[in-house]
């Protein structure tokens, strides 16, 4: 399938739902000269709100690089990236940092919780970052923890939780400030099959909302069934995009 077809499929569907992320001709090179690696070679991608988009492909094909650019953590070498209607090219410095803090939620493979903070405090961090009072932020974080089924663990430290529970805390943290874009890099890779399924179900149930786009990077084909759209990447390009119907709450 050539690039034109991919793009026309993507834009045909995009008309019906708001396009949360638009990438056009995005390339990313690492290094220079002989050591230059072309991690992305002209990516066109639309991510729609209200959907879960899976970004799949073998290791090293550029998935992490692509979501880093989409999340405003990395500058593309060339191309245009628009997130929530905002061209990232024009967002610099503090405004970019604020934009990430306000509108984007992050879930990491290794959970990245602060070990000294309780589950509720960890989940409250994005609200603290946006300047909310501690008590208020923690109270809100508790309700989100209840929604992810950890109401009884709000005062536990990460070290007292299983991997699956820690990832649920991380999901609560990623959602507590109600971001319009959620970016997850291999959220199930460090988990056993059962916990991985639980985490994907949770993302489906609480993260996918009208007006919020969810991007999940994975190379775990056991979880492919959870995506509304599966973007297959290979060697820095998008190979094909699959659409599938997923029952809500599955």
């Amino acid at each position: 399938m050539n690039r034109m077809t991919v793009q026309s499929i993507a834009s045909a569907t995009a008309t019906s739902l708001a396009r949360a992320v638009v990438c056009r001709g995005v390339t990313k090179d690492f290094g220079e000269g002989d050591t230059r690696v072309q991690a992305l070679r002209g990516v066109n991608l639309d991510v729609l709100g209200g959907e879960m988009t899976l970004l799949v492909g073998e290791s090293g094909c550029g998935k992490t690089t692509l979501i880093s650019i989409v999340a405003g953590l990395l500058d593309p070498t060339a191309g245009e990236v628009t997130v929530l209607g905002q061209s990232l090219r024009h967002l610099r410095g503090r405004r970019l940092v604020q934009f990430r803090g306000q509108h984007i939620g992050f879930v990491f493979q290794q959970y990245n919780l602060l070990p000294a903070l309780t589950a509720a405090e960890n989940a409250a961090v994005p609200l603290i970052i946006s300047g909310r009072k501690r008590a208020e932020a923690v109270a809100k974080a508790r309700t989100v923890l209840e929604a992810v089924g950890l109401g009884s663990k709000v005062n536990s430290l990460p070290s007292q939780l299983s991997g699956g529970q820690q990832q649920r805390v991380a999901i609560a943290r990623a959602l507590v400030h109600e971001p319009k874009l959620l970016v997850c890099d291999e959220p199930t890779a460090a988990l056993d099959a059962h916990s991985g399924q639980t985490v994907m179900q949770l993302l489906r149930r609480v993260a996918v909302q009208p007006g919020r786009a969810v991007i999940v990077v994975t190379h775990d084909n056991r979880v492919f069934g959870y995506g509304d759209r599966i973007v297959h990447m290979s060697d820095g390009t998008i190979e094909r995009v699959e659409e599938q119907t997923v029952a809500r709450g599955s």
Binding site: T64, I67, S68, A71, L73, L74, R94, V97, Q98, F99, R100, G101, Q102, F106, F108, Q109, N112, L114, P115, A116, L117, E121, V125, P126, I128, I129, S130, R134, D185
Partner: protein
């Protein structure tokens, strides 16, 4: 964000304690050694500061510090008196004498001979007896520490008799005197008697103590004394400083203390600095996560600086507390021994160690921050 920074700090207990330990170790060693140095310096000038009432010290020009005596002819006191602006001038004998006790043992004393008539320069803090008792025959006043040193474990009482230079001396008073550098007992007697206690010398006048007339600048009067008499004259404080500066220049004392203080600084700074750095490296991933989630570099700097300030203040307080605890313990242990305690927390010491502690944590924080600030937010996904 501040409480998060603090929880990150206190949550990493081992490193937290190690950093605080490093800072307090440095502060303790630096302030304790500096206080002992200051105490020694102060003790070197005790005999100068303990003489009250006169504001000018005149002496032979060759004198470099208080124990460096070049006796003058008694005539010198007359010459000083004749200088305009001098209200009065008296003789001071300052010297050492060997005292022989009934048990047959000998002890060196500092003997201060003060003006027979006015008793200017007599001790101001008496434990037993009074300064006017010096008018009694053979009367001397001994300082309390000296008494305890000479008569260990015996009750403090008057009337003990011993001999100096084969002449009878009787203790008629016990006073408090500042501890001396050489730790000799300090005794006070009249000038005329002191001269007899001392070994025979042609000249006996150690210092001329003078007072400037009211409304006269003592410095100006000193200048006139020097002009007119050829002696050296200076205010009491200047003579203290001259004495201290002599010891500082001519002995290894400041260098040795300086080395210990520097060592305390270097060891403390390397423990604190290295651990702070490792602590920050431990947290690099978390700082990266916070950066990705929307914490700007400025706030990261604030967090690290806050962590640094907390360990700095804590370490400083503990270190200074340990130093003064050590000093109090020493004083308590020495309370009945007659040994002087040589430490003095002069006000620049807590200030200086505070600055050193601040420097340690500030430098550590800066050093650690380089890594945090250089961190790419995209590194969270790696």
């Amino acid at each position: 964000m501040n409480w998060i920074a603090l929880k990150m700090l206190t949550g990493n207990r081992a490193k937290y304690y190690a950093i605080v330990f490093g800072v307090s170790f440095a502060v303790m060693l630096m302030s304790q050694q500096a206080a002992i140095f200051a105490g020694l310096m102060r003790n070197m000038t005790s005999q100068i500061r303990d003489i009250q009432g006169a504001d000018i010290w005149a002496m032979d020009p060759s004198v470099e510090f208080v124990d460096d005596l070049t006796p003058m002819d008694d005539q010198a006191v007359m010459e000083v008196r004749s200088v305009p602006g001098v209200a009065w001038a008296i003789k001071l004998y300052y010297g050492k004498a060997r005292a022989q006790f009934q048990e047959g043992n000998f002890k060196q004393f500092i003997v201060l001979g003060i003006d027979d008539q006015t008793l200017v320069g007599a001790p101001t803090q008496m434990k037993l007896g009074s300064a006017t008792d010096l008018r009694k025959p053979d009367g001397i006043i001994l300082d309390e520490n000296g008494y305890r040193y000479l008569f260990p474990g015996q009750p403090i009482r008057l009337g003990r008799v011993f001999e100096m230079n084969d002449r009878r001396a009787e203790i008629v008073g016990i006073c408090k005197a500042s501890p001396t550098f050489q730790t000799f007992p300090v005794s006070y007697t009249t000038y005329s008697r002191a001269v007899r206690y001392a070994a025979q010398e042609r000249n006996t006048l150690s210092f001329v103590l003078a007072k400037a007339e009211e409304n006269r600048d003592p410095k100006e009067v000193c200048r006139r004394i020097e002009e007119q008499t050829g002696l050296t004259a200076m205010p009491q404080d200047d003579f203290s400083w001259k004495t201290m500066s002599y010891y500082m220049r001519r002995t290894g004392i400041p260098v040795n203390f300086g080395i210990t203080v520097l060592l305390g600084f270097i060891i403390g700074a390397s423990i604190a600095g290295q651990t702070f750095y490792l602590f920050t490296i431990d947290n690099l991933k978390h700082f990266g996560t916070l950066k990705a989630m929307g914490v700007g570099n400025l706030r990261i700097v604030g967090m690290v600086m806050l962590q640094g300030s907390v360990v700095g203040v804590l370490g400083y307080a503990i270190g200074l507390g340990m130093a003064s605890g050590f000093s109090d313990t020493m004083k308590w242990l020495l309370r009945d021994s007659g040994l002087p305690s040589a430490d003095f927390m002069a006000w620049p010491i807590p200030l200086g160690t505070a600055a050193a502690a601040g420097l340690i944590v500030f430098a550590s924080a800066l050093f650690s921050l380089r890594r945090v600030l250089a961190l790419e937010p995209a590194s969270v996904f790696r």
